[in-house]
Subunit: 252 residues, 2 copies
Amino acid sequence: MADLELAVSTVILALLPGSCPTAVNAASPAGPTGERPADALRLHLPLVRRTREPFAERWALPGGWVTPDERLSSAARRTLEETTGLRPSYLEQLYTFGAPRRSPTGRVVSVVYTALVRAPEAADVEVGENVRWAPADALAETVGDLAFDHAEIVDYALWRLRTKVSYAAIAQHLLGELFTLAELRHVHEAVLGKPLDPANFRRTAVASGSVEATEHVQTGAAHRPARLYRAVLPPGGAAGGYPPWQSRPELG
Amino acid sequence: MADLELAVSTVILALLPGSCPTAVNAASPAGPTGERPADALRLHLPLVRRTREPFAERWALPGGWVTPDERLSSAARRTLEETTGLRPSYLEQLYTFGAPRRSPTGRVVSVVYTALVRAPEAADVEVGENVRWAPADALAETVGDLAFDHAEIVDYALWRLRTKVSYAAIAQHLLGELFTLAELRHVHEAVLGKPLDPANFRRTAVASGSVEATEHVQTGAAHRPARLYRAVLPPGGAAGGYPPWQSRPELG
DNA sequence: GCTGTTAGTGTCACGCCCACCTGAAGTTGG
DNA sequence: CCAACTTCAGGTGGGCGTGACACTAACAGC
């Protein structure tokens, strides 16, 4: 039990246009028919530049050590805000990585969380010298090799998000309180990496009961105004792909 | 980081008839039409009686401490065999529980694994004074309150197994190498708690590609002999509900 | 007012899953 | 040896969800 340290790390994702951290509304959304424009919405995640060995100067997931009196999810929230200033709208435990040689300096077991953050909130965070938004699907090209096994962790988090977004209503946490169905569809398209049929997406989204229409409509666009929708929480209990005690998926 | 200890626990399940640990073949299987006979197959899990405080004399999940040089999954296997003598045919990380007051003696973070074991092997293990098989769906009635938060953990493991057995081919790990489709269906019925149509189960099981027919047939039964099937491993990669690096789901 | 663009609705076809039915192939009991 | 029984194995029709696509609605810009 000696020489064993417990850390938390977080893969936190936001939907940002292209490659620069500006608001989501500034982006021209991807055309529904196919190829992705240069300014399409893409999943981004903040990385932190390491200042100390091991892996000094390399980019890593935000994280830190667990203190004795806080929950694991609280440690994830705290270290995330300390290193990036972000407060997630969704937080879920992903996996615990504990291979003996993950870190060259000793045994480190990392409880990894996946988090989502709304895009405008993400854009408000100033990107300093040591924090950087990187597109999730091209990490190696933009920031090189990540520290530790963090590239593997990101791959797993993206795989889980892709599989989960098709059966659980979590994509809404990447948007604001009110959103159009087109925006929600763009989120799914960015996560899944393929275009979706607007009519069919509308049907399944409404029929699933995960969103409800509001009185408001979106104005100012050069087309028929879109109705704004609101996320509807699972009605207490095991809805939404969680066990009863995890309807808010952050226990433990 | 001081005063924080890392443990592993395992929810290991086997399919035993009724309430006594005898071989699976000795059981008269549940009728396909509805109500469960007294000797139907039920999910059981081994519990270990605690000999020390806290929770002395109470029943708990098998587990132990992580040593500095072993993987988390290895620690789960090792502590499971040390306390129960069982070697699982399937092992998968379930969740990491780390609430500050889980243990009254200090902060303990437990990486919990779910495991499956074949029934005849389970029956071979002698049940001593301090190990006991208990039916998974009636723990409170048979062994009373479990130690720590282990009842909650078992509930979560069962919920995950139920949801996962419908899309991943894992029920086979509760049977031997060769099995009839009726036996595999009985496993699904025991996990899901409801009867399944034999004809439809056959079609979906064969069509999914998770089992393949062999030349052998089962003899000795008072009816037409059933063909024996073999589990077919997912063909390398992301089949079976796992990410690429987790096609054998025990990394970390 | 015309046009372009996107929101939203309706319709049809295909495929999957489920309930049910029919025949086949063994064993048991007289 | 023969009848009865039980389960395997395969087939069929209907319901439902999803994908593809056509059509109408509403607003901005010129």
